[in-house]
């Protein structure tokens, strides 16, 4: 670590880690409702509330992780301290406060009611303010030295795109189809656009520092990767426009472009492995390397392969709106974004605290537990989804009867959920055992 203000990132990582723990607990609560018909929590935390909390916590902690990663990365790239450390801390507290208000609100039945964007409008404006403070602080830091590296440019581009797209999810639209049209600009263009840029920049930075490969090599391929991500991902939004009231030409555009979406991800896997092979320095933090390589592989499997499996309209016609989507969602978010956040944390925290990563075998236990359990969970959800698509869509069985035939797979999903939770809490324990940077109290 070169700059004192990089330590701000640690507080973000603490918040992200704790919210991650809470998120998976709500995952267990939500999953249990599928396994047992009788729901003792029905009047306190009904399914819709626990699902909303599970999903919102995911998005909040991933965003906080990205912000922390950005505060860590930008000083090194820009070669200067963060423009305003107090603003960065204030922004974190404001964001966590809004997150807590949203969750308490859901428990009290206060909701805006569009999936993932359930935050009431007043809180959404709060989120916009958080994003503006963040962008301002990052932009001003970059402007101090004006060292426009490609990593910084891609990161800033991703963050601006992220903030702008959120605006498409703020307003009430009378027409449900049109509302969903714009809703996907937030949901899809975030995860298959803006977030990929942020994650791509972060992983490029980590690989650069870990392996010591030539910067020009890393940046050249970063350009190609994000170019392909955006080329396939922007029109690829069309795979969400098959059945929502939009014209039928989306079946062609969505099908073709989204079928290409695994390519840039495969590219990232090859790129990561090449950087590791061509390393110029001895990799001392092998834990971060394992997470980075694991992330590339799981990103490809979860987002690329699992996504491709049901993205063509001929298949999606049967699987749309079934647990197949839930299987893909869990796999993709874990592989692409959870693991990248943890890679960043395992890269940055030892550099801030001076901890030697040689003794952190516990991190690898957490990694293996999470990966294996998630894999089992998405297989179970995938089988449940195929059973559902066959019985409900092909044979015409009614929805609730179908659910009875899926019970076994829900049970497997829930048991593997406990594996995920164990992995996550192993990680949380390991995170705090890395100590805290000197001078940071939070």
């Amino acid at each position: 670590m070169k700059y004192e203000t990089q330590k701000i990132a640690y507080q973000y990582f603490v918040a992200a880690t704790l919210l991650f723990g809470l998120q998976v607990i709500f995952g267990l609560i939500t999953g249990a409702k599928y396994v047992w018909d009788y729901d003792p929590l029905m009047n306190i935390i009904p399914f819709n509330t626990s699902r909303a909390i599970h999903m919102n916590l995911l998005v909040i902690w991933l965003l906080i992780g990205f912000m922390g990663g950005t505060y860590y990365l930008v000083p090194e790239e820009a070669e200067t301290d963060i423009y305003s450390p107090p603003l960065a801390v204030f922004q974190l507290y404001l964001f966590v406060g809004i997150g807590v208000a949203a969750i308490v609100g859901y428990l009290a039945g206060w909701s805006w009611g569009m999936p993932f964007l359930e935050q009431p409008t007043v809180l959404k404006f709060g989120i916009v303010i958080v994003a503006l403070i963040f962008l301002f602080n990052i932009f001003m830091t970059m402007m101090k030295t004006r060292k426009w590296t490609v990593i910084q440019g891609v990161l800033l581009g991703g963050l601006v795109m992220l903030a702008l797209l959120f605006l498409f999810g703020v307003f009430f639209v009378r027409n449900l189809s049109t509302q969903y049209y714009w809703w996907w600009w937030v949901i899809h263009l975030w995860v298959e656009g803006a977030w990929e840029l942020v994650a791509g920049a972060i992983i490029a930075f980590i690989l650069l520092k870990l392996t010591g490969v030539n910067r020009e090599l890393v940046e050249k391929w970063l350009y190609v990767e994000v170019g392909l991500v955006l080329f396939t991902g922007i029109v690829g939004t069309g795979h969400h426009y098959y059945w929502i009231g939009t014209p039928s030409y989306w079946l062609w555009f969505g099908g073709i472009f989204s079928a290409l979406e695994p390519l840039p991800i495969l590219f990232m896997v090859i790129d990561t492995l090449r950087d590791v092979r061509e390393k110029k320095i001895e990799i001392t933090n092998r834990i971060a390397l394992y997470w980075a390589v694991g992330s590339a592989a799981m990103h490809f499997l979860g987002a690329g392969v699992w996504g491709f499996a049901h993205t063509l309209p001929q298949i999606n016609k049967w699987t749309h709106g079934t647990q197949v989507t839930a299987s893909h969602g869990h796999f993709a978010f874990f592989g692409a974004y959870v693991m990248i956040n943890l890679t960043m944390i395992y890269f940055a925290v030892p550099r801030m605290t001076g901890t030697s990563m040689k003794e952190h075998g516990r991190s690898l236990i957490a990694l293996r537990l999470m990966v294996l359990s998630i894999f089992l969970m998405v297989l179970a959800l995938g089988v449940a989804g195929v059973v559902q698509a066959y019985l409900q869509r092909v044979l015409g069985m009614d929805y609730l009867t179908t659910q009875g035939y899926m019970k076994l797979w829900y049970a497997v999903m829930w048991v593997s959920g406990w594996g995920v939770v164990t992995g996550v809490f192993t990680y949380i324990y390991d995170f705090f055992s890395m100590g805290r940077p000197s001078g940071v109290t939070a």
Binding site: N48, P115, Y181, E216, Y242, G245, P247, G321, D398
Partner: protein
């Protein structure tokens, strides 16, 4: 490849995709009013949409295939249920449909219920490119169906009753009902379920026209 070639791929890849996407977006948005019969999107439908959002229905139910997977998709629900049934159900879900997986009673007000029913009826008419697809087995049977079978489907009987292995298990299996019950008994059960079973959750179908009722009774009593 050089850095500037990589940069060119990034810029052109993004620009080409964005131009195609924005062009299609312009066209899609201009076609939406027709595809979603917007002329029928009344204030009541919009109020219903807001009620749908306010109670966070979408995190249990999917609509247009999007949302929670805990409860049935509601895109074409009004093709399967009539408005009176829907209103009764929304008033007290468990009483009307005592399924094992429960929907909580949201204590909706009467105007919220009628707004929701208007909203679902409007959603039902959206052109979804034929999604959800017609089940293959049912699709294969088209053309050989008895008139009573159409009534059986339209009234959503199979949500509670099984017939030839398909359907719900809230009410009795009707696969061989014709060999157990007379046509008259079936007619009375349809008109006034409580006359046979005072605690029956089954709604009365006395609202059916005489022709529909005759067809349904013929169909059911033929299930031997």
């Amino acid at each position: 490849m050089t850095l500037s070639q990589g940069k060119a791929i990034f810029i052109w890849g993004t620009v080409i995709s964005a131009v195609i996407f924005l062009g299609l977006t312009y066209d899609s948005i201009s076609k939406m009013p027709k595809r979603t019969h917007e002329e029928n999107l009344s204030d009541q439908v919009a109020d219903g949409k807001w009620t749908w959002q306010r109670y966070n229905c979408n995190d249990c139910h999917t609509i247009l295939g999007i949302g929670g997977y805990y409860a049935p998709d509601l895109t074409k629900v009004m093709s399967r249920r009539d408005p009176q049934w829907m209103s009764r159900f929304l008033k007290d879900p468990h009483k009307v449909w005592p399924a094992k997986r429960r929907m909580p009673n949201l204590h909706l007000k009467d105007d919220e219920i009628s707004d929701l029913v208007a909203f679902f009826s409007w959603v039902n008419g959206i052109d979804t490119n034929n999604w959800p697809p017609k089940p293959i087995t049912v699709a294969a049977a088209v053309g050989t169906t008895m008139p009573g079978e159409a009534v059986f489907k339209a009234q959503g009987c199979s949500s509670c009753h099984k017939l030839n292995g398909m359907g719900g298990d809230i009410g009795p299996d009707l696969t061989h009902v014709g060999s157990r019950r007379s046509a008259e008994w079936i007619r009375q059960q349809l008109e006034n379920p409580k006359s046979h079973f005072p605690d029956s959750p089954m709604p009365s179908f006395a609202k059916l026209s005489p022709k529909e009722m005759n067809n349904l009774v013929d169909f059911l009593s033929g299930q031997k």
